[in-house]
Symmetry: C2
Subunit: 190 residues, 2 copies
Amino acid sequence: MIRESALRAAVDLIARQGFAATSMSQVAEAAGISPSGLAHHFPSKKALLGAVLEHRDAIDSDPSPAPGTVPWCAFDHLVEVAGLNMQRRQIVQLYTTMIGEAVSPDHPAHAWMLGHYDAVHTNLAAGVRADQANGHIRTDAPAEQIAREVVAIMDGLQVQWLLDESVDMKAILHMRVEQLKTVWGTTPRG
Amino acid sequence: MIRESALRAAVDLIARQGFAATSMSQVAEAAGISPSGLAHHFPSKKALLGAVLEHRDAIDSDPSPAPGTVPWCAFDHLVEVAGLNMQRRQIVQLYTTMIGEAVSPDHPAHAWMLGHYDAVHTNLAAGVRADQANGHIRTDAPAEQIAREVVAIMDGLQVQWLLDESVDMKAILHMRVEQLKTVWGTTPRG
DNA sequence: GTCTATATCTCGATAGAC
DNA sequence: GTCTATCGAGATATAGAC
């Protein structure tokens, strides 16, 4: 499918250069078609960006376990995602580049960014509160702050890993999650 | 000075839109001069970016205390910087936007970004090792990982704070640093 | 030191042939 | 569904008047 090869080209170029610095002509050339041929599938640059973000969300589809069953499961899951990310540089680079650009309220991906953070942050904070209700986490644990801190580690490590792939994102995040368990958990741990 | 008002305009625009999305004409208009007048002071867009990064580094000038005197002093200092940053949105926004763009090896600010991370990371890791030598930090503490994690928190929180200024960067970072002291410190703590 | 003027290029988007 | 052709706008950069 031509549409899909164009989408692949767009993901690659936007990941490496950012959205603002990537032109429709570049994408068309990388996909092996003319700019007008590309315009038939994606009538505007924003439409192309929308498809790219959709593609990213599909890959990152977070089948996060239901909270409340296993303590800290949302955090353990994030550690696994960090490990997966170390084998898919393109997606990490696309994400990091996108976040940097979309901080601006006028950016076409700003709404996407707000939704992304709301979803991730809400998921982690809810996980803490569910475990607090089940007695697995101390009730004086600051759910909001813990969620924000772990999301920050996840995002910040991706930047460092893009600059130096020897950075072990999974190990560092794992270390932090295990410390959270000992500091705020109620279950005795060795 | 016209050069300085142009620089202020460039900082403002690049912070809000990013470097790639900002044009020389925009900067000239915001500074109240013609594009050619701007070109006299900054002969190229890269030259303008260089001055902007220099300006940022000057403000962020990290008079980090000498390591080895007070335990965890480099980390306590970072907590203070997080507090200061909550009162200078423009600099935080410029930094975050710049990081996102400069991940690409071809970006004109890529070398600046590598130097920045090397400096910050080296500073924190050296602080840990100095405290280990003085007996304030357990010798089995992973200095590299701790440094990377704290830098990640600092960077990641700035993104979240830009989206929602009610996020207390200083409090969250402070919480983490205090936990590091209890987990890895040798000095007894209440 | 700041301007006008211009050169050269590329952008995103559209119209219409096939 | 892909192409050629073209639009108008805006980019960086340079040359030269004042």
